[in-house]
């Protein structure tokens, strides 16, 4: 169970996330929707503690995540894996090593760190990484440099990396915003698979309403840093959509092209 209590993050005078309270039971797949700048990214980044909250608390199974420091914080980050809109892989490293980054915090002691700095990974770790890659149809690409892969492949590498962390939670920050529709579907199906088969709680920020409706058990809508809707996809009717986005759903569909112009070739 993940609980957010009165979570707030200010950038200067502006509150990116404003007094958000939320609880997510284990194993749920939650879609967070809203316009750009509504605070979705900041919210997810706070859960992983990449961004520090200004006030409020994050609790996971009773542990106060906001108070963690040092090793305990790294352990928490390992338990709540994260994937990003721009994949955030190391472009100049091969795919296998990128996936093995997910094991970095599973190597105890100073020796674990030192050997990792020389890229010394055990055959068991490599086997785990290769199995994860194979699950997302990328075993063939294991020794290629990450920058030789398409956007969709890179995002699946990122999911494989996340799985090697053996997390309880998966945070996905706009995972398909830089992908074409076909790759977007493959990635969303991978996320749902991880949710159904591995029982991970998945929190995913999405731009497209229909994607959220199709894949998520629960939809949360944000506007100006606040939660303005929280319920099952079926409860999100036309009136609600108009309130969230300020325009009717048809107009919304028209303004968001189906093949988004992406910085990364798909």
């Amino acid at each position: 169970m993940l609980e957010l209590q009165n979570l707030t993050r200010r950038f200067g005078a502006r509150a990116a996330v404003d007094d958000v309270s939320l609880s997510v039971p284990a194993g749920q797949m939650v879609g967070i929707i809203g316009r750009s700048g509504a605070g979705k990214s900041t919210l997810l980044r706070m859960v992983n503690r990449l961004t520090e909250p200004t006030s409020g608390r994050i609790l996971h199974d009773g542990t106060d995540v906001t108070a963690l420091r040092g090793k305990a914080l790294r352990d928490w980050r390992t338990r709540c894996a994260m994937i990003f809109q721009q994949f955030n892989l190391v472009q100049r490293l091969d795919v296998l090593t990128n996936v093995l980054v997910g094991r970095l915090n599973h190597r105890p002691g100073p020796w674990g760190t030192i050997s990792s700095l020389f890229l010394r990974f055990s055959p068991e770790e490599r086997a785990m990484a290769l199995d994860a890659l194979d699950r997302f149809d990328l075993a063939e690409q294991a020794l290629q440099r990450a920058d030789t892969l398409s956007g969709g492949q890179q995002q699946r590498v990122a999911i494989a990396r996340a799985m090697l962390q053996e997390p309880k939670l998966l945070l996905a920050d706009e995972p398909i915003a830089s992908l074409d529709p076909r790759n977007a579907r493959v990635v969303m199906e991978a996320l749902r698979d991880v949710n159904r088969r591995d029982g991970l709680t998945v929190l995913v920020n999405l731009h497209h309403l229909d994607t959220a409706r199709r894949y998520c058990d629960r939809i949360i809508a944000m506007q100006d840093g606040r939660i303005v809707f929280d319920g099952p996809p079926a409860a999100l009717d036309a009136r609600q959509v108009h309130a969230i986005y300020g325009v009717p759903e048809e107009a919304l569909e028209a303004e968001t092209p189906h093949a988004p112009a992406s910085a990364v070739p798909a």
Binding site: L50, T78, F84, L89, Q91, R92, V101, L104, N105
Partner: protein, 292 residues
């Protein structure tokens, strides 16, 4: 006939151009004034230059070896032969090797230290504002002191020989390379950093996995460039007794062995040029394809 928008835009453009011209003129005037003042202070008079130049030429003339066509390819005991000019080539070759060795060791040691210090000295990855300031100021202090000053102190501490020279060059190299490395790190893309941190990697791991692969080609290139500079530095550092060919050069200069001066300088130029060419070739090959 201009439209009102074009008229307003044109007026703003002209005003901006006038302002820019004014600034440029002011800058040029200030620069000229500073240049003349510094020339006057350092007695850079055209007259002094004119009277000194012939003397420099005279010195170069004296350096010229006494080569004769008839005996040009004679052995080292024949006066007027190339072998006679370079009659101590064996000793000089060894000293040049020692010089290149000093430069290589100093570059490696300084580069390794610079690599370790450059991460705390890069604003974007430094663990805290204080480590950043401390590392930056430390690197600054290391590179402000010239090699020759380090060498003077270290020769006093370790005695005459290459060890003092190596440490002296390594210290200066750490300061110079550390700054360049840190700036390369500051230009790195930070998205992979978020990726590694979000996966639970610690600071050292994030530096290694997210940053180093991006900056390694740059760093190798800087390292080779520094090696070239250090070969030159190592050839002079012997003047204060810190090993290498410089020690010999100082000796022959102070004793006015003119032909030997030209022979040694020619050898240094040859070796430095060779190393320059080699390292440039290596740098070019690394440029495209470097894996770290």
């Amino acid at each position: 006939m201009l439209s009102p928008a074009a008229e307003r835009g044109e007026a703003a453009f002209q005003a901006a151009r006038r302002a820019r011209r004014g600034r440029v003129l002011l800058g040029v005037a200030l620069f000229l004034a500073a240049f003349l003042a510094s020339a006057w202070m350092s007695e850079f008079h055209p007259a002094a230059l004119a009277s000194g130049l012939p003397r420099a030429g005279e010195y170069f003339l004296r350096l010229l070896p006494d080569l004769r066509w008839a005996t040009l390819f004679g052995d080292w005991e024949t006066e007027g032969s190339i072998a006679f000019w370079f009659y101590r080539l064996d000793k000089w070759a060894l000293l040049l090797l020692e010089t290149a060795n000093m430069a290589a060791l100093a570059t490696l040691a300084g580069g390794a230290l610079a690599l370790l210090l450059s991460f705390p000295a890069a604003r974007n990855v430094s663990p805290s504002a204080w480590t950043y300031r401390f590392a930056r100021r430390g690197l600054e202090a290391m590179r402000t002191v010239p090699e020759i000053v380090y060498a003077l102190i270290l020769v006093w501490a370790f005695g005459v020989g290459p060890l003092a020279g190596i440490i002296a060059i390594a210290l200066h190299t750490t300061g110079a390379l550390g700054k360049l490395f840190a700036e390369a790190i500051e230009n790195a893309d930070m998205k992979p950093w978020d990726g590694v941190r979000s996966a639970g990697g610690n600071w050292a791991q994030a530096c290694r996995f997210a940053v180093l692969p991006q900056v390694a080609p740059n760093m190798v290139s800087y390292l080779l460039l520094r090696f070239e500079i250090n070969v030159r530095g190592a050839s002079v550092i012997g003047f204060v007794g810190a090993g290498g060919i410089g020690q010999e050069l100082y000796l022959v200069i102070s004793q006015n062995y003119y032909e030997e001066i030209s022979a040694i300088i020619l050898l240094i130029v040859l070796v430095v040029a060779m190393i320059d060419l080699l390292s440039e070739a290596v740098r070019r090959r690394l440029g495209g394809e470097a894996r770290a």
